[in-house]
Symmetry: C2
């Protein structure tokens, strides 16, 4: 799968650091879950059926009708490193990457990486659109276009009563999951982040770390997503995020940032410059510390406290410093200690330090 | 006491970073305790007697017979900031600085700061010679010359049976205390420092931090000193340090440093460069962190891993970043938060960072 190699040269569109409110909203993601009519769900299907599902989808997804073209990756034939690479790029879920060697499964990736369609994950089809900044409406339009294209030739399992049928009841109905990745360093520094967490829980929203379920919130990055889809229309779920949840969190974070600028400028600058210092001088560094330092640096750039680097480069480093990316870039497998050294070296190079 | 002002321009001779084994031995210090015959010890003397002791010593210490000349500082008339400054420069003890306002007391400081003589500390006279590097013999010769000069005109309390009489029994006899300040970062990094501590305790040596009794060992700096003087000649005490204690610790530290170079070069470089990074970029920093960072930087320079700064400048920063020095340099009293900022600024300036 040498075509995955070129991926490591840069980050996907969602890390471009552009889009509305990109100083706080890293990316917006919409996912739809669909299953082919006439087949059991993946966990109930036998080996032959699973193969048929993959082949049926492959035919449909690679027929050239999806805008921009796709890269088809057969996961059970991929190396572990390649699968890990796709996880780091948010193109497949950790579960999809780590499923047994004998589960036929795949992912179809849009050439610009704005969309990815997992085949035989929990559902037959899990489509996602991932866009930089707060482009939720654009993401919704794009995923609907994809959904429409696929529905021309594939029949999805659908119930008049429940809507789209899915393997897990929390996705039944519209099958839509909306999530936004937020950078909330000021709320974290001031401790107000707990209020946001509580408010999100009260609204039945999940708050997770950068790498989804089971990942801790590191480096002040938080993924906020809806939990259930039954009984609510896609538009309602979307409207919640578009008009209430995200704008409110953005406003809180902006207030906290202004408070830092007014009342704690010295501490703020200290954090920002120390982050820059560590990133440009460390000779050995782990991913957690990188995430934390990049977070402070990103805050500093966004608040105009430092201008030694731009947001796009910072965003790229989030990705390129991950273990699989590092190993793809250097073209060799490395133990953790070596990775720490190579990671530090890569960061210094990318930031123009010696 | 405006004549203390100029002190803050640089560090004393003991921080010159020169002298034998200065990569490990920061300084060697010898102290003698003496009391005037015919007067009670300080804690038993009345106010009039205490004044007389100070006056008697002032006459003798400022008569021009001490080589290089002295600066006479009357401590009860000094500001708290000036007294703190003298403590930071190791010219008076913390106890001497903090004694009550009404205790007449003083210190006579050699112009090059290689010696200081406290009057009315625990004993009537506490003379110390403090030299950079492992110059114990030189220090011993110098303090003997001072002792001889003073004994020409002052009669010291002496007992045929016990030797020189002192207020505290641990100093009776020769009244000599020898101490060396050691920089042991490699033994600290490898954890072997605990062995050194245990060995020192077994030899009845005290191991303390940079600022003497009650101070923690910070930044990998350790003061090793003898505990008792009764029953041992000055020469015996001195020979212990000169031929056994210090050379052995030096050898251990050198072995540990070589082991770091051979086996943990990446971790070593990481520590060194991070220290340089923090010191040249922080916008707010406390004394403990400065000590720790300067320690790593000093190790890096001594092992040839970094050449952005020389040892003398590093040694100066140990002193100039202390609270009283900072306030003398800027000419104003500052709260702790402001000191942290000014300290960071001073370090950046001295290290040539922006």
């Amino acid at each position: 799968m040498s075509n995955l190699r070129q991926m490591t040269d840069q980050a996907g569109e969602w890390l471009r650091g552009a889009g509305p409110h990109s100083e706080i909203v890293i990316s917006a993601r919409i996912r739809l879950a669909r299953n082919l009519a006439g087949y059991p769900f993946v966990n109930r299907a036998n080996r032959r059926q699973r193969f048929e599902i993959v082949e049926r989808c492959r035919t449909e997804l690679t027929n050239g009708r999806l805008a921009g073209g796709v890269l088809w990756v057969s996961l059970q034939e991929s190396t572990e490193l390649d699968r890990q690479l796709l996880v780091e790029r948010h193109l497949v879920s950790r579960q999809h990457a780590q499923a047994g060697e004998d589960l036929p499964r795949a992912v179809a990736i849009g050439t610009d990486e704005t969309f990815a369609i997992m085949v035989n994950e929990e559902d037959h089809l899990r489509m996602q659109v991932l866009r930089s900044g707060f482009q939720l409406v654009e993401a919704f339009e794009q995923i609907n276009r994809i959904d429409d294209v696929l529905e021309d030739n594939l029949e999805f399992a659908y119930s008049r009563r429940f809507g789209y049928l899915t393997a897990c009841p929390t996705n039944v109905g519209t099958g839509i999951r909306v999530s936004v990745m937020l950078h909330l360093p000021a709320l974290t520094l001031t401790g107000e982040i707990e209020k946001v967490r509580r408010a999100a829980r009260d609204m039945h929203l999940a708050v997770r770390g950068m790498f989804g379920e089971g990942s801790e919130a590191l480096g002040d990055f938080y993924q906020v997503s809806n939990q259930t889809t039954l009984g609510r229309s896609e538009n309602e779920v979307l409207a919640d995020f578009q008009t209430t949840v995200v704008p409110q969190i953005i406003a809180y974070e902006q207030q906290a940032r202004q408070a830092l600028l007014r009342q704690k400028l010295s501490q703020l600058d200290d954090k920002v410059w120390r982050a820059w210092a560590i990133l440009t001088h460390a000779r050995s560094i782990g991913t957690d510390e990188v995430l934390s330092m990049l977070s402070h640096l990103r805050l500093g750039v966004n608040l105009g406290r430092i201008d030694t680097v731009d947001i796009r480069r910072i965003n790229e480093l989030f990705l390129l410093t991950q273990p699989a990316h590092l190993q793809k870039i250097t073209g060799r497998e490395m133990d953790s200690a070596t990775r720490r050294e190579v990671r530090a070296q890569l960061i210094r190079q990318r930031l123009g330090a010696r």
